[in-house]
């Protein structure tokens, strides 16, 4: 249906995705850049901080953009990153 879509969807606010909590184990990172390159939402980028191995570990650009697909943690050769769902206050 090729009609061009004019109005923003009316029920957009009903879509509340889970919030992400990104854990970086900075000193494990060897700076291969895989997580930064292949994150589908470009949530990570190289930080200018130097870790114990003398490389730039990634830093989180915008945690809200993360959709918790955990590809970064799956492709990380050094087990230096993982993502969990951020528990809200009541810990739910």
């Amino acid at each position: 249906m090729p009609e061009r879509i004019r109005h923003a969807p009316l029920d957009l606010e009903q879509f509340k995705p889970a919030k992400a909590e990104i854990h970086l184990i900075k000193d494990e990172c060897k700076g291969c850049g895989y997580c930064i390159e292949f994150c589908p939402k470009k949530v990570l980028e190289e930080s200018d901080e130097i870790n114990a191995r003398g490389v730039h570990p990634p830093k989180v650009v915008d945690e809200d953009k993360c959709i918790i697909c955990s590809f970064c943690s799956a492709v990380c050769p050094d087990f230096a990153i993982f993502v969990v769902e951020k528990k809200n206050k009541e810990g739910k």
Binding site: M1, P2, E3, R4, I5, R6, H7, A8, P9, L10, D11, L12, Q14, F15, P17, F38, P40, K41, I67, I68, C69, F71
Partner: protein, 811 residues
């Protein structure tokens, strides 16, 4: 494949021609002296009987011919009357009933091409009629008896488009017992009707009456659903179409139980096209709840798993039936079908091109399709008509009619047929839910012509809907309240109105599908100026396409409501059923004849044949003709310059005999006009039917396609001193034989170059592309060529004779 025996032995014994000049009431006799024409015909060679009568096509007329054939032993018949496109089949049948081979018959079109177009010049018209009869007699003498080849029809059908029309056609054919392939571009069948809330005039819930049909189509043993697929290629001809369908991958297998768990976890959100973007769908989705097939689909343009790398596997994990598979690949399926039904439907008009209505800029201006989704219980607002700006239920609503219909500004002059009734239905829907809403309908003409339409209209009026005649010139938004001001002129009261409303609903019209140009090219169809497909005959063959074996249903042919679409669908199914029930169809015996000894195996003919019905056979040292695949255009015969190929019923000798007949006297005042049966000849007929008057210089020779006009025909006409020659055919791309008219273009260009090189006036050879509807274009070309004929000097004629003298060799 019947390859011709040695050229058929000529009819032994004498040629006995009967000529019948028809008065057609006053249509011909009004401006042609039929008696004189008949007397003239009697003097022509081999004519043993010539008479004129009032209505040759009537039963007595036909009975007279049959009697003469038997008693007078006629072995050729010429009828000078109307266009062969109308009554050639009738008279052929008459000859056949009298035991005469129906191919030994020729017509002279002295009505549409003579009497009707030269109403006020009886003398010239009569002279022209004589010439046309002389041409017919010259050709008929050379005609041979032919027998027709029959072609098997595959008892399977292809339906393109899964809207209500496609579904109905598929169900009808499947119930008759034929295998049906239903190809639908979208992930689910259902088309436009699935998106509508209620139907008019019965106010049924649209999806409730459509869904059962959809599931019938989905589970019918004879119907194979090919959704998310497009027709990629169509080859072959009636009864033997080889269709390639590109099945795009759904990335979800058939094990999907439509449980929806994957949608819950999919992080991707996008406007749902089905709800015109008013609701949200996910990367993995199903367009609507009642979708058939129910298997979900992944929109790969949104999904993060691109280029073979699965980044996010949330849906795969959530699917406990393991139905998600990113490895699926597009598949091209090859189908063999006998008939094709085009039910591709229509698009809705996008009103954003009309700045004065502010659609897309003013929040509370929506279209009726958006209204259908809002008022629908399954839609984004749960069935509440709300204003996009503040999501409140409006107190005052304004409908604006003819948006994108009957308007030059929007480039759509036609009436879209459904918008008036749709608005009336919508207004009643609003009144039903919220009775005290004030409703205004700005209209030009309310078209409530159908059964039950009028009382729906009355109910709307009684319910207090205010109908104001005169479309608003402009819709302006009140920035604060987001209400809209509709400013226009009430043409009945002749006063300007400025009415404010909470929201405006534009009643948008329907327009031809943007991709219908592809379908047209695939099936060699033609389209009218509005872009809808052109039926074979508006009255007598409304659902047939010009291409044999192809039929239309629904809005693809023109905008119409559900009832008409379904009616057309059943009609198309019935028409297709006839072919498939018979199981075979006879092919007109106008296929090429081969003289093997002359064939140089050069392969030129193979290259030009649009249906690749000719193939080179190196070891037999000649070409082979597949009669069944041949479309009958004759381009191959024109291309062969070794005389190895000619077209039955339009042989070189027969056409040259017609040229000679024209140029026998006063050639310098005449135009030899070659017209193709499907377009320019029909265009000339159209000019005649519309009584367009033009000078009588031209004498039209009919060939099946302009591709049949060989260079030597034009050269012969000039060699015999004709003033001017017209070669005409269908527009490039519209040719009934796919691309045969490209060869015509090449040949005329070669002739122009030759004429230039030899100092001849190029203007004397004219090339005209005129479709069946362009009578006016044909008539004006006739007028234009008259001036050319007038200032052709005798020396120019003589020079022409000398330059093309070679064309007369072998005479």
């Amino acid at each position: 494949m019947s390859e011709s025996k040695e050229s058929k032995p000529r009819q032994d014994g004498q040629i006995r021609i009967g000529v019948y000049v028809c008065h057609c009431g006053l249509n011909i006799a009004g401006s042609v002296d039929c008696g004189e024409v008949a007397k003239f015909a009697a003097t022509l060679p081999n004519v043993v009987l010539a008479q004129d009568n009032r209505y040759t096509c009537s039963d007595q007329g036909q009975a007279g011919i049959k009697k003469d054939i038997q008693e007078q032993k006629l072995n050729r018949v010429v009828v000078a009357s109307c266009s062969p496109r109308l009554h050639e089949p009738t008279f052929r049948k008459a000859c056949e009933d009298a035991g005469l081979n129906k191919y030994l018959f020729e017509m002279a079109n002295i009505r549409e091409h003579c009497s009707w177009v030269h109403l006020y010049d009886k003398e010239a018209a009569t002279e022209k009629a004589k010439d046309l009869v002389k041409m017919a007699v010259a050709k008929v003498a050379l005609l041979e008896p032919e027998d027709e080849v029959s072609v098997p029809i595959t008892r399977k059908a292809l339906v393109i488009g899964g809207g209500v029309a496609g579904i109905q056609a598929a169900l009808d054919l499947a119930d008759t017992g034929y295998k049906v392939y239903l190809v639908e571009k979208e992930p689910s069948i259902g088309g436009m009707m699935a998106r509508i809330d209620k139907t008019f005039p019965t106010m049924d819930c649209s999806i409730c009456i459509l869904a059962p049909k959809m599931s019938d189509a989905g589970h019918h043993p004879n119907i194979e659903l090919l959704t998310n697929s497009e027709v990629a290629e169509v080859k072959g001809y009636i009864g033997n179409f080889h269709v390639k369908v590109l099945r795009k991958p759904r990335y979800v297998t058939k094990d999907c139980s439509a449980c929806g768990e994957c949608v819950k976890v999919c992080p991707i959100v996008a406007p749902n096209e089905f709800d015109v973007g008013l609701a949200v769908r996910h990367g993995v989705y199903t367009p609507f709840a009642q979708a058939v097939p129910s298997t979900y689909i992944i929109d790969m343009s949104l999904c993060l798993n691109k280029e073979g790398v699965i980044v996010c596997d949330k849906c795969t994990k959530a699917c406990e039936r393991q139905a998600i598979s990113f490895e699926m690949k597009p598949v091209t399926e090859e189908l063999e079908v006998g008939t094709i039904i085009v039910a591709t439907g229509a698009d809705v008009f996008d009103p954003s091109v009309l700045p004065n209505y502010g659609y897309g800029k003013i929040a509370n201006v929506i279209t009726t399709l958006e209204f259908e989704r809002l008022i629908n219980a399954g839609g984004p607002s749960g069935g509440h008509l709300i204003r996009p700006s503040d999501k409140q239920i409006p107190k005052r609503v304004a409908f604006v009619q003819c948006v994108g219909s009957r308007s030059a500004r929007s480039g759509r002059l036609y009436c879209s047929n459904v918008c008036c009734m749709n608005t009336i239905k919508d207004s009643l829907l609003i009144k039903e839910h919220w009775p005290d809403t004030e409703i205004y309908v700005f209209y030009v003409d309310i078209r409530a012509y159908g059964k039950g339409f009028e009382d729906l209209y009355k109910r709307a009026r009684n319910a207090g809907v205010v109908f104001i005649r005169g479309l608003p010139a402009e819709i302006v938004e009140d920035k604060k309240t987001h209400n809209v001001w509709l400013i226009g002129e009430n043409t009945l009261r002749k006063e300007v109105y400025r009415i404010s409303a909470d929201m405006a609903i534009l009643s948008i019209g329907l327009e031809a599908r943007k991709d219908s140009e592809t379908i047209q090219r695939l099936l060699t169809l033609s389209r009218n100026q509005d872009g809808f497909f052109l039926e074979a005959h508006p009255k007598l063959r409304p659902v047939d396409a010009a291409t044999a074996g192809v039929f239309f249903a629904g809005c693809a042919e023109s905008p119409k409501d559900i009832k008409d679409s379904v009616t057309q669908a059943s009609a198309a199914a019935a028409r297709a059923g006839i072919l498939m029930a018979k199981g075979q169809v006879t092919v007109e015996a106008i296929t090429p004849t081969l003289f093997p000894e002359k064939c140089k195996v050069c392969g030129l003919c193979v290259k030009v044949c649009p249906y690749n019905a000719i193939s080179l056979n190196k070891d037999l040292k000649r070409v082979e003709i597949i009669e069944a695949a041949c479309g009958g255009c004759g381009t191959c015969a024109a291309e062969c310059n070794f005389g190895a190929l000619t077209q039955k019923h339009f042989t070189d000798e027969q056409i040259m005999a017609q040229i000679d007949a024209i140029t026998e006297n006063e050639a310098e005042k005449k135009i030899v006009a070659f017209c193709c049966n499907w377009c320019s000849y029909a265009g000339a007929d159209f000019a005649g039917v519309s009584r367009m008057q033009y000078p009588p210089n031209a004498r039209i020779i009919r060939t099946m396609c302009s591709g049949r006009v060989a260079q030597k025909f034009v050269e012969r006409a000039f060699a015999r001193g004709v003033a001017s020659v017209l070669v005409s055919g269908c527009h490039l791309g519209d040719c009934h034989y796919i691309n045969a008219n490209y060869q015509t273009q090449k040949r005329v260009e070669r002739l122009w170059k030759k004429m230039e090189q030899n100092g001849l006036d190029k203007q004397r050879l004219q090339l005209l592309w005129a479709s069946a509807a362009e009578g006016e274009k044909f008539a004006s070309k006739m007028r234009e060529m008259k001036t050319i004929v007038e200032n052709v000097k005798p020396e120019e004629i003589e020079k022409g004779k000398k330059v093309f003298a070679t064309a007369l060799e072998g005479d």
